[in-house]
């Protein structure tokens, strides 16, 4: 057994002085278990990613001191909240210090008058809402990982909420933050200067810059969040269609309805239904003529939702949808966090069942291009499955992506199973190539690589400069100015290019 770390004793001694002995973890198990996230992981090269040390801070001052130390010694720092990301933001690429914020899970203040709650980044939304609902309010950030992801990671990735069309996504729900910059200074980040001010035109709009920065611009240590009334009513309706085209047209009609209580519209394609039909338990069986499904949900007061639901049902019917009934609609919506990615559904071409990890593509695309993208993505997946065997096409979802205005663009997901137990350098390279081809389709159709997970995966990150265009030069300048020693999550989003002399082979 070896617990030796690459860091020298003086560094560890300093960390222990900052955090206390119990909150500096050097054991191999502590470090291995904070290396990966659920996104596809080259498990055969696990040891290449293992950090040198894990720290568990409890205060912003401790985070600040750790980051200042990292600057003095030029040690990489990678923040980690729930570690539930579907891209690699929390995966250390250059070892270094993992700043695990899970102990910073306090509720600092509930303000029922000005409608905010102020929390540490280590709190989970479900746990937060258990407290908030006693007061008749909720924090409505509702990702698929709602039962386990943490506020810090939601901010680090600029997450997406299943109820975003009604209540907004993470960036809309975070009002302001306490932030440790890459130089260790603790600053206020928001719209303007007021901690509870939602809209301001003072200075630059820094909240958007730091939201979704994937740990490359520092670490959030406190966040002031939006409160909304706990909805009186939840209404869910699932509709069935004989083909994708009909379901896509109906999706558009539902999303353009203008109903303010509409929380989201979700389109399931034929591949997704086939995937969900792989057992008799995960999805209530539907007759074969059901080839696509559209799910909708509404939230609000009874006076709003009751008439709006009637309108929604009419649109669903008029556009060819067959209502799937209360049991499926309410039941499936209620289990929306648990149900749709099941590793045990992995299948080889010959039908053999193998446990597979889940790649969840999360491109942002406009409504008009969904049918074409779908065809091209499935064709790419099919080629790689045929050639390499260890992949599996789990189908596609398209979710309304705009906050308060669902009619425009969509979070578009193709789910691909990967049999990680069989990974080696060759088929990992194949996976990355598959990912790149999927990304190229996204960019070809004017989309964005990622709606919510972040562009930190191999196969995504290389395309950040291409997608951002001239804006990438702005990113580089900001990164260089704020993090001159490149200590914050180095290697992500191609930001290492910030440190290259001008004209040194940038693409």
């Amino acid at each position: 057994m070896s617990t030796a770390v690459a860091l020298s004793d003086p560094v560890l001694d300093e960390l222990r002085a900052i955090l206390g002995d119990d909150h500096v973890l050097t054991g191999l198990s502590a470090r291995y278990n904070r290396t990966r996230v659920p996104s596809p992981f080259p498990v055969h090269r696990w040891k290449d990613y293992v950090p040198d040390v894990v720290v568990l801070p409890r205060t912003a001052e401790q985070v600040s001191a750790v980051v200042k130390l990292a600057n003095r010694y030029r040690i990489p720092v990678v923040p980690r909240a729930g570690g539930t990301g579907l891209a690699d933001g929390a995966v250390p690429l250059r070892r270094g210090i993992i700043v695990d914020v899970k102990l910073m899970n306090q509720i600092h203040e509930i303000d029922l008058v000005d409608r905010t709650v102020t929390v540490g980044p280590g709190i989970n939304m479900l746990k937060l809402n258990e407290e908030l609902r006693k007061h008749g309010v909720i924090y409505p950030d509702d990702p698929a990982s709602y039962p386990c992801s943490l506020v810090g990671g939601r901010i680090g990735t600029s997450g997406w909420s299943l109820l975003g069309s009604r209540y907004g996504h993470t960036r809309d729900l975070v009002i302001s933050m306490q932030w440790v910059l890459p130089n260790g200074e603790i600053v206020h980040i928001g719209d303007g200067g007021g901690r509870k001010i939602r809209k301001s035109s003072t200075g630059y709009q820094l909240k958007h810059l730091f939201m979704g920065a994937q740990g490359t611009l520092g670490i959030v240590t406190q966040a002031t969040l939006e409160l909304v009334p706990r909805p009186e009513v939840e209404f869910a309706a699932f509709f069935a269609y004989p083909d994708y085209q009909a379901a896509w047209e109906s999706t558009g009609a539902l999303a353009r309805s203008g109903l303010a209580t509409l929380a989201g519209v979700v389109l399931f394609d034929e591949w997704k239904l086939r995937y969900l039909r792989r057992d008799d338990e995960a999805y209530i069986p539907q007759p074969d003529d059901v080839q696509a499904v559209v799910a909708t949900a509404m939230y609000g007061t009874r006076d709003e939702v009751t008439p709006a639901a009637r309108r929604l049902m009419r649109i669903g019917h008029e556009t060819g949808g067959r209502y799937l009934g209360d049991e499926i609609s309410q039941g499936d919506w209620a289990s929306r966090h648990d149900r749709y990615a099941t590793p045990l559904h992995g299948r080889l071409r010959d039908g053999q069942v193998v446990p597979m990890s889940w790649h969840c593509e999360d491109a942002a695309l406009n409504y008009s291009v969904l049918p074409q993208v779908r065809e091209e993505w499935h064709a790419i997946a099919d080629r790689f499955i045929e050639r390499h065997g260890i992949f599996d096409d789990w189908g596609m979802f398209a979710y309304t992506n705009g906050a308060y205005k669902p009619g425009g663009d969509y979070l578009v997901e193709i789910d691909i199973g990967i049999w990680e137990q069989k990974l080696n350098d060759e088929n990992w390279a194949a996976w990355v190539q598959c990912k790149r081809e999927i990304t190229e389709v996204t960019l070809k159709y004017g989309g964005s690589i990622t709606a919510c997970h972040g562009s930190t995966r191999e196969g995504d990150a290389e395309y950040v400069p291409a997608e951002m265009g001239g804006g990438f030069e702005v990113m580089k300048a900001i990164k260089l100015a704020l993090d001159p020693n490149n200590v914050m999550n180095p290697g992500k989003n191609e930001l290492d290019r910030s440190y290259q002399p001008v004209g040194s082979g940038e693409g």
Binding site: M1, H44, W46, L344
Partner: protein, 435 residues
């Protein structure tokens, strides 16, 4: 039962066998990556340490299989578990596809197996080691504050005139036999009042469950062999347990030890009593003026799906105001008293108890009712700080049935001052409420 000294060759083989056996199960979790288990885990809720999660428990196996980690690297992680089973229930693999693929997540089994691998590899936890050693001579668990000697194992029944042997045996858990004797006496009186014929064992030993939970499987099995032989000699066909921990041991460990040769009906008291109440064989007519909530014992609710019968009994007690919290919400509750956790981690266990009682306090009750005698000592300690009394369901029923129900000596309601688990140096005698 002291563990063998370290032997790299043997330990390498043990580990290889282990990872081969657990590889697919571990990968079912590793590849899922949902981590929904975390925020229901009573330990993780307190420590917030990613190593103390079912995700880590499974990922470690994958890392061991790859040669990245050894049992020595990971053994400490598995100390941090009460084996409550919440994580298994909250796992999407279990919820949606576990039965279809016969691949339910079995974290508790994995934790037990890894703890056994640690012991077999010579890696022991000091307090567990002392605790298990203390049972060698005493044959019962080292229940603190009271003498534990084999000749006193049935002292709790003094004056009740209970026979030895018979078709039905009441198995009285160590904590109830030596410490909270009011639970044992209440149970026996209730059964008698309902006309159930039952006897005691000729010589009851510890069920062996805690030793198995700590990784000392051979030791646990020797207890099991004694108890089953005693039952057979008495001609027993049915065992009534009053403690959920015994119930788990008799319904899960014993069948694994003895296979089909083990043909004995195991009944938990709440299931039997609910039936007796339903059939009118016991009358609960004395009003009990208390405002109560019910603590779902983890091993009943999460591991065995028994949550309705205790509620049925509570609703049959006159005078009681019962403020219920549903059994699914209680997946994330625990007393902290399971699987030896509190013996090695008393401070964390005490915090788990404190949080459980705080949930009860929010309901503005005066009494927290449990059906697990092992939960009652730590919950009572926490309850004393909140002004909430902790009672066993059987104690409550005895009152409602107009029975005496008091324990022997003065332990009927345990003394609040017995803060035993806080002192780790007390070693073998440090078993209070820490099962």
């Amino acid at each position: 039962m002291t563990a063998p000294p370290y032997d790299p060759m043997r330990d390498g083989n043990l580990q290889r066998e282990f990872t081969e056996q657990w590889s697919d199960a571990a990968y079912g979790c590793f590849s899922s990556g949902h981590k929904f288990c975390r925020e229901v885990c009573p330990v993780m809720q307190v420590t917030r340490n990613e190593n103390h999660t079912p995700t880590a428990f499974h990922a470690n196996v994958v890392a061991m299989e790859q040669g990245n980690l050894t049992i020595a690297d990971v053994a400490d992680d598995y100390v941090n578990c009460t084996q409550c089973g919440a994580c298994e229930l909250r796992c999407p693999n279990t919820l949606f596809t576990g039965d279809f693929y016969r691949n339910r997540t079995q974290t508790v089994k994995l934790v037990k197996a890894m703890r056994a691998l640690a012991v077999d590899s010579g890696i022991e936890q000091p307090n567990w080691k002392r605790w298990v050693e203390a049972t060698v001579d005493r044959k019962s668990e080292p229940v603190i504050e009271v003498p534990v000697e084999q000749e006193h194992v049935a002292d709790w029944a003094h004056g009740l005139d209970l026979p030895i042997g018979g078709e039905t045996i009441l198995f009285v858990d160590c904590e109830a036999a030596f410490f909270r004797t009011s639970v044992a006496r209440s149970t026996a009186q209730i059964l008698k009042a309902a006309g159930i014929e039952f006897g005691l064992m000729r010589e009851q030993w510890c069920c062996g469950g805690p030793a198995a939970e700590m990784g000392y499987v051979n030791h646990a099995r020797s207890f099991a062999e004694h108890n089953v032989a005693d039952w057979q000699a008495a001609g027993a066909t049915r065992i009534i347990t009053l403690d959920p921990h015994d119930y788990i041991t008799f319904t899960e460990d014993y069948p694994a030890y003895f296979g089909e040769a083990y043909d004995i009906e195991i009944v938990h008291i709440t299931e039997l009593l609910a039936e007796l109440v339903r059939e009118g064989r016991i009358t609960l007519s004395q009003p009990v003026e208390r405002v109560v909530t019910y603590h779902d014992p983890c091993r009943l609710n999460k591991r065995k799906g028994i949550h309705e019968s205790p509620r049925e009994i509570l609703r049959a007690i006159p005078g009681l105001v019962f403020k219920d919290v549903d059994h699914v919400t209680q997946w994330s509750y625990c007393s902290g008293a399971g699987a030896g956790f509190a013996i090695e981690r008393p401070e964390i266990a005490a915090e788990i108890s404190r949080r459980r009682v705080a949930r009860a306090a929010e309901l503005e009750v005066d009494t927290l009712v449990s059906a697990c005698v092992w939960s009652e000592r730590p919950l009572s300690r926490a309850g004393a700080e909140e002004g909430i009394e902790v009672m066993d369901l059987m104690e409550l029923v005895a009152q409602a049935a107009g029975l005496d129900g008091h324990g022997i000596g003065d332990t009927s309601i345990p003394a609040v001052a017995a803060v035993a688990g806080a002192d780790r140096n007390r070693g073998a005698t440090n078993g209070a409420g820490t099962r």
